[in-house]
Subunit: 306 residues, 2 copies
């Protein structure tokens, strides 16, 4: 049956699997690109710091040479400060991130997503005003939207787990992220879904359906949740399947939104970072194949499967 | 102006302040009662383990002799297991907790609250079925409600921070807790609000107003959130005012529900537990006076204040 979707051969990466470079934290950009391509993946999500290490021009060339798609660029945001020099610096930095996203997405293989993931920031030092901080996120988006639109970049607001609400992201749920995105063109402002951050939310199915109706889903990231949490809760993520998250309903709900992009595995975990990158890539491919890939079947095409 | 509410004298505990015994983790029940009364507090929230240490009969006598009100009893719940011996054991244990709550509330001073706080439990071992676990919480409530009603005890479902969703409580928001309570008489099933668990939730004001309309607020607990979280995230709580929670709007919203009961300070924190109980009581009184008490003024009576 020519043209019908095929599951990849055993051991071959799923065609929609992307590795987020954070999963290969200790690997330089050139090595990450080379090893990811060698492992047979077709896409990668990049981070600003390793790009800055080699410089944008070199990064653009390296990504182009790798033959990989860019699935997302991490990250902008951190713009909850009140008006003043710190806020201006943050917004200028986001402007640079927008330009970098555009340049990299252009250099990546066909199907690259010019998506800048936004972690919005926590409470400013000394502040207890969550509502005010959230309002300033909306104002920052309003300021950046014209430049993102001009650059062809989509800003993707990422709700983070509520345990990061004070110091990382005052946006904790998909519902909040969608509320923030609402005033803007969905082609310019979308949302990032990460299973680690959102799996606990009973309202998630409703909000995923809403994300679909409103055309907001810009990036889908997967990793797993397991307790006890490690001493540093920033490093609490696991390979899909190694924890308690049920990837089936979540992934099917993501597909039902119409999201047709790459699916990133993004893991912050000290043990995984200490592992050899070749092994991390292999385990990423295998865990994705078992926990996520079985649900990555377009519901409209199930009938035509052999 | 006789009869108008008065702020307590400096150094005197606020009349609605209760200390939850968890804040005095290393102190026996007899010592906790004696020191709490000596510190001038009028109420205490008790825990089952220290009550079991002395036995219920002795605990009832000790509480009666102390002259303190019981503000709540911690804790029942942990009934997310599927049908089987483990679930039966959990439900039987909750039946005993209901009886203990009734006995203690009867022994406490006038104004004691026969409130059993329920931490519902996490995912059963090996399960990824959050929705199923939540459903079984509702079934457990249905089973316990007749016995709670007969004993004159109010079951108070406590939503816990989403970072405990997998191993402590599959109920993470006030909205979920209210949904679970809905089928039952509000005199028998209510909810517990703890600032530490809920402060991040943008939907909290809406759900607090709903809790008021539906007459569900059974207990109000305060402590503060601060990062970085300690290695054991169960011990991440702080004295009110030492973190980022804005107790003003929260406390006023709680009062607006009509809640007229005690306000418990419940802190799990290794450093505070290592401190002398007399000092913990003094710091509890002082921090409450600064961070919470200024907002504990019945809005209907503000006009009659001197």
């Amino acid at each position: 049956m020519t043209g019908s979707p095929r599951r990849p051969e055993l051991g071959q990466p799923h065609p929609r699997l992307s590795i987020n470079q954070a999963t290969l934290k200790r690997t330089s950009l050139p090595d990450a690109l080379r090893l990811t391509a060698q492992a047979g993946l077709a896409a990668i999500g990049l981070w600003r710091e390793p790009v800055a290490e080699v410089g944008l021009t070199a990064a653009v060339r390296l990504l182009g040479d790798s033959g990989l798609r860019l699935s997302s660029y991490c990250r902008g945001g951190f713009f909850t400060d009140p008006e003043g020099p710190a806020r201006r610096r943050a917004l200028d930095d986001n402007r640079r991130a927008i330009e970098e996203t555009a340049a990299l997405a252009q250099a990546g293989a066909a199907g690259s997503q010019a998506v800048l993931v936004l972690v919005v920031g926590g409470l400013p030092a000394g502040s207890r005003d969550l509502a005010g901080a959230r309002q300033r996120v909306g104002q920052a988006l309003a300021e950046l939207v014209p430049e993102a639109a001009a650059a062809g970049v989509r800003l993707a607001v990422e709700p983070l787990h509520p345990m990061y609400a004070s110091d990382r992201a005052v946006v904790s749920t998909l519902g909040q992220a969608l509320d923030l995105a609402r005033p803007f063109d969905p082609a310019v402002v979308g949302v990032t879904i990460d299973t680690f951050h959102l799996w606990w939310d009973a309202d998630l199915p409703t909000q995923l359906a809403r994300a679909g109706r409103e055309g907001r889903l810009a990036a889908y990231q997967v990793c797993d949740w397991r307790t006890p949490l490690p001493p540093d809760v920033l490093l609490a993520r696991h390979y899909p399947g190694d924890g308690v998250i049920d990837f089936g309903p979540l992934t099917r709900a993501v597909l039902a939104t119409g999201y047709a992009g790459d699916v990133e595995v993004e893991i912050f975990n000290a043990e995984i970072w200490a592992d050899r990158p070749e092994r991390v890539l292999r385990r990423t491919v295998d865990s994705f194949e078992r926990a996520v890939a079985p649900h990555l079947i377009d519901p409209a095409q199930v009938g035509s499967m052999p």
